[in-house]
């Protein structure tokens, strides 16, 4: 009898991210009848496509024991650059997306190189890149939003084309799940965060892998920025401030450890949706923005407390 009870308790602790998510979902459904409407759910999905790309990049950086503070700024850079190219240079929007992603990749590569080769702490290297990317975004937009007229970038959020950004985001999630579970790359990333010296002595070129996680994070952040620009039909240098902290919070709620070596793609996404649901329901209920932040913080504390209990058990 007591043994079974223990098991239920363990399950509760083990899957706390899922449980919080489901509980929140039910609460939201009860609190607002608009919550379960197709339009609202679709809005959440479209809204979260960009942030989720960022969370995935961030998760891999965190798995190696690093952190990438630059993602919010790189999102702004991606958004600004794409809009600038489309509006002022008449670049086809597909090509603009690719160029923005290459820019993000380059920014991430610089951060990663500083971390891997110059032995910067991830915090410091990405802090510098955060400032640089934000500055670059503001230079490109000259401080004011760039409005994209007509159907260009906005096509990727249109129903007629089957919401391409949802398809792309879903594909990226699947790819990351596969990378983490089934590839040598995913395994090495998690190993780096556990004990980088042991990994190096096992004959793995750790520096290349370190650079790659920051590069991927930068690239996905730029893509996330493009998604946001597409929804608003506007490129802007001031969007996504603080997005890096939301991304870190999503990873942590999903069970990732900032010390590295621990974390899961799917659970990080659940973490992102937990944050999204909180914002959504409070918007529906017309709660002002500031109390939302308080509740977000409390959810992070609860999630991490539950994880600590699991860790001590081990």
């Amino acid at each position: 009898m007591s043994k079974k009870k223990m098991n239920i308790k363990e399950i509760l602790i083990q899957y706390n991210a899922y449980i919080i998510f489901v509980a929140l979902f039910v609460i939201c459904a009860i609190l607002s009848d608009r919550f379960l409407s197709l339009m609202n759910i679709r809005n959440i999905a479209l809204q979260q496509a960009g942030p989720i790309c960022v969370v995935l990049g961030m998760l891999f950086v965190i798995l190696t024991g690093g952190i990438d503070l630059s993602v919010g700024s790189v999102m702004a850079l991606g958004s600004s650059l794409a809009a600038y190219l489309i509006v002022f240079k008449n670049v086809p929007f597909q090509l603009a997306i690719v160029i923005a992603m290459v820019m993000g990749l380059a920014a991430g590569t610089v951060t990663g190189t500083l971390v891997a080769y110059a032995k910067f702490q991830g915090f410091v290297a990405s802090l510098a890149m955060m400032t640089i990317a934000r500055g670059a975004a503001l230079v490109i937009t000259n401080g004011s939003p760039i409005k994209m007229e007509g159907d260009t970038l906005s096509l990727i959020v249109k129903k007629e084309y089957g919401y391409p950004i949802l398809i792309i985001t879903f594909a990226i999630i699947v790819i990351f799940c596969i990378i983490q579970r089934n590839t040598a790359y995913g395994r090495i990333v998690i190993a780096l965060g556990s004990n980088i010296e042991a990994v190096e002595l096992a004959g793995i070129r750790v520096k290349k892998y370190l650079v790659s996680v920051y590069a991927i994070s930068g690239m996905l952040a730029a893509l996330g920025g493009v998604f946001i620009a597409a929804r608003a039909s506007t490129g802007s240098g001031v969007i996504s401030e603080g997005q890096e902290l939301d991304a870190i919070a999503a990873c942590v709620i999903g069970g990732a450890s900032l010390a590295g070596g621990k974390g899961d793609v799917f659970r990080a996404i659940i973490g992102a949706f937990i944050l999204a649901l909180i914002s959504n329901i409070m918007n529906l209920m017309a709660v002002p923005a500031y109390p939302q932040d308080i509740i977000k913080g409390i959810i992070i504390i609860i999630a991490v407390l539950l994880q600590l209990v699991t860790d001590r058990k081990e």
């Binding site: 042991a198 002595l201 096992a202 004959g203 070129r205």
Partner: protein, 496 residues
Amino acid sequence: MQNSEYRLEMRNITKHFGGVKALTDVSLKVEPGEIHALIGENGAGKSTLMKILSGAYVRDSGQIFIDGKEVKISDPKESKDQGVAIIYQEFMLAPDLTVAENIYIDKLSAGKKFINWKELRNNAREQLERLGFGDIDPNTKCGSLSVAYQQVVEICKCLTRNAKILVFDEPTAVLTFSEIEKLFSVIKKLKEEGVSIIYISHRLEEIFELSQHISVLKDGTYVGTVKTKEFDKDRLVNMMIGREMTEMFPERHAKIGETILEVQNLCAGMVQDVSFSVKAGEVLGFNGLVGAGRTETMRALFEADKKESGKVIYFGKEVDWKNPKQAIAEKFGLLPEDRKKQGLLLQQSIRMNTTLACLNKITKLGFINHKSEKEFVKETLASIQTKYNSTEDNANSLSGGNQQKIALAKWIAADCKCIVFDEPTRGVDVGAKTEIYKVINNLAENGVAVIIISSEMPEIIGMCDRVLVMRNGKISGEVRKEELTENALIKFAMGV
């Protein structure tokens, strides 16, 4: 009941880590004002027992009495409040603070609003003088003191907290001879003052010089307590090991073949002009004092550190490895000396640890085949008799001996033809040691060239076909199996 004849009594202490029993029914009785030696092989449970006393670990069962009164001790503060203090090998001093600040670190202002620096310094000086170290200036920064003096500061710190049970864990390991003498005078003085001292050491001479009683632990169990006066070294060693040397080192029937690795004039940092070679099936030992350059030589060979010059001939052709990856690709492996820091991913699964150096074996185009990986891991671990529950358990759920086997399995899984074992049995209990020796013998019998770096004389003598001794970064001598004695090795190691 208050006036017990024992200062400290630990009764039937039992402690598990995961599924591994670290201590079973261990008891320890220490009188007031005595020096009580605690001995046992590595992994016998000495440190675990002391960590339970200090509150760093919580016991599964058993009782602790201090001055006849049962105490709980479930965290470090309770232990401190009961007057228990432990002097670790690595001191808990803040190097940038002064001696006086360190001694009174937890009561700098003595309850007042501001710190009275003059009083603080005078008090510190008094404490130091009491131990006979008036020459330490309370104003110097701790980081600039010699290790021995730092130890004295650490002792003073414990004494200001009214420690009545003081534990020394291998205190002389890092000291010079004259420093050891000073430390002993301090320990004897503390004993005169009525402090109970638990003294952990591998050096039997020290134990016979200092202690009144000796308690012996073996494989996590309590063997017994004896009066030092009525005992001699040989009987003590028997009690400690409880088995003969020949049982420890299993026989090897390896055929020594072709030369596999030849190193010529290797230089790297402190390593100067080191040349040697090792053949298939041969077990070559590297002995010498700690810091003589043995580990550095092997790390340079493996390209974990940069080598400056020298020629490496491997399987008859000159190689120029640029990083460990290239060395491993040519089946050269290195088991690092520090299992926890360099060898294992403690928080990750046994499976992941085992295949880390041979990911190409279990992947196709970068994709892992989980099923064949599991099979492969099970086979590899079975071949070296590793005990574990599931390949998915974390490495840190295992005992030291089995952890070491996982670290070793990595190189076996990678089919290495030449493996360097740096301190292969450090922190491993006696039974597991023999098993690791069996694995090494097995490798040699299968034609692997083996290099063992070890500071443990019995291990070097019991295992090696040939031993090179290093001193100050150079090879100072070579001893063949027939001439292998501790004396011969020490002569080369010390340069006499």
